[in-house]
Point group: C2
Chain length 89, copies 2
């Protein structure tokens, strides 16, 4: 097993990746004004999950869990809202 600081670094980098990953998807949908191939169910269930992670972070008093999931929740909900808007066009 690697030293603890390496393990924590891996965990932190993991959190950054699974959070910022949603930025290019949001940008793509916004630029192309289309989101037909994106699953509404995915982003709905994912957003519910992120909301629950956020609450979980509050209950266990974990600032990294709160922050990472607040950002991911905002990004996922934004993609969901854009999909709803563009699918009607």
């Amino acid at each position: 097993m690697p030293p603890l600081w390496i393990v924590n670094l891996i965990g932190s980098f993991a959190a950054v990746c699974t959070t910022i990953a949603f930025v290019p998807q949001l940008v793509r949908v916004y630029r192309r004004k289309t989101a037909r191939d994106i699953s509404f169910s995915m982003f709905l269930v994912f957003s519910v999950g992120e909301l629950l992670w956020f609450l979980y972070g509050i209950f266990i008093h974990s600032l990294p869990v709160i922050l990472a999931n607040a950002v991911t929740l905002a990004l996922a909900v934004s993609i969901l809202v854009l999909k709803l808007r563009y699918d009607r066009l």
Copy 2:
């Protein structure tokens, strides 16, 4: 603050949501044979993040972290592979 078992239940349900969310996206891409609106960068960065979460789970000996992220990694990589295949058609 709610009792610990409620907090753990919220955390577990959060993990289930953010994992199974990828199933309807995989099904949608597979059925419609198109993934143009899906961001390659999103699923690439997300998969790297899931791989790191998986390694982190191994290092901290957390079976829930290992299992949840192994499943999510498999789903995200599958979507990525299908996108690469269908975008060429």
